[in-house]
């Protein structure tokens, strides 16, 4: 029988992979994907605890996280496109000079 603890451990592992990827990788697109992994880990936690507490609020929170994640990706990718137009193949390290 799978208890809630298994889901929570899986979420923790997924969050960790995302966090390490965000720290290690230098390609802005991959870094965004790692943020998505972390958001998904949090969603899994929300739903697991929502089921444990018998509270639908957990699922509603996940709904809002999904919306904010979509908005974040749209804006983030627009920024990546805009930066790549000026400096092709820019990595996160090159963007320390980012200013108006």
């Amino acid at each position: 029988m799978v208890t809630a603890s298994w889901y929570l451990i899986l979420a923790a592992a997924l969050f960790t992979i995302g966090a390490v990827g965000l720290l290690v990788r230098r390609n802005p697109l991959i870094m965004f994907m790692c943020v998505e992994l972390m958001l998904n880990a949090v969603n899994l936690t929300f739903i697991t605890f929502g089921r444990e507490l018998n509270d639908i609020g957990g699922q509603v929170s996940v709904f809002f996280v999904l919306v904010v994640a979509a908005a974040e990706v749209v804006v983030g990718l627009a920024i990546v496109v805009a930066i790549n137009r000026r400096r092709p193949q820019a990595t996160a390290d090159d963007l320390s000079a980012l200013r108006g």
Binding site: T16, A69, V74
Partner: protein
């Protein structure tokens, strides 16, 4: 049955996540991300969150990953990256330490919360929804009463982000560009 589904999906989710982090080609990373998101949707079904499982597939696997792939193709960055060099010395060792710490703390907190719930004795009821009160209806009931202002705010957020994306990724007209170059000087 639930156990078998959980084990298979957990393996898919973790393999996909590792694929995202370790892939040298951004396109492969995006495709690994699809695997992770799909496994996650099945886990949501396992947890009786039927509506969110559908939304996960449609929004994440359908829209967001396609957006990633579209940008990768648009920018032409779909070439292999050399992962053997470390941009900052000692970065990976430090990242591994931070990762272990994060994992340990997250597991400790989550499990202590879980055990706390158990000791209080609130456990395992039915939010999957049977009969007329389906999972979707329960979400809608809460979303359009308690969280209705937040819901309206997300509408504004999405509109603003779309407008922002269009403005930022717009190619400058030639006269604007000349003007901007003049301003830069």
């Amino acid at each position: 049955m639930e156990t078998a589904v959980f084990i298979v999906c957990a393996a898919i989710v973790l393999a996909g996540a590792l694929g995202v982090v370790l892939a040298r080609n951004p396109v492969h990373a995006a495709l690994s991300l699809v695997g992770t998101l799909f496994g996650m949707a099945v886990l949501f079904l396992n947890l009786e969150a039927h509506f969110l499982a559908a939304v996960q597939i449609i929004v994440y696997a359908g829209a967001i990953v396609v957006l990633f792939l579209f940008v990768i193709m648009l920018l032409g960055v779909d070439r292999l990256e050399d992962l053997s060099v470390e941009p900052i010395t000692g970065q990976r060792a430090l990242a591994a330490i931070v990762g272990l710490g994060t994992f340990g703390l997250a597991v400790a907190f989550l499990l202590s919360g879980d055990i706390g719930l158990r000791s209080v004795g609130i456990l395992k009821l039915d939010i999957a929804g049977t009969g007329q009160y389906s999972n979707l209806r329960q979400i809608a009931d809460v979303l359009f009463t308690d969280y209705v202002y937040a819901f309206e705010a997300t509408a504004a957020l999405l509109t603003i982000s779309v407008v922002g994306a269009v403005v930022m990724s717009r190619r400058m007209a030639r006269s604007d560009e000349a003007q901007e170059t003049a301003e830069d000087d």
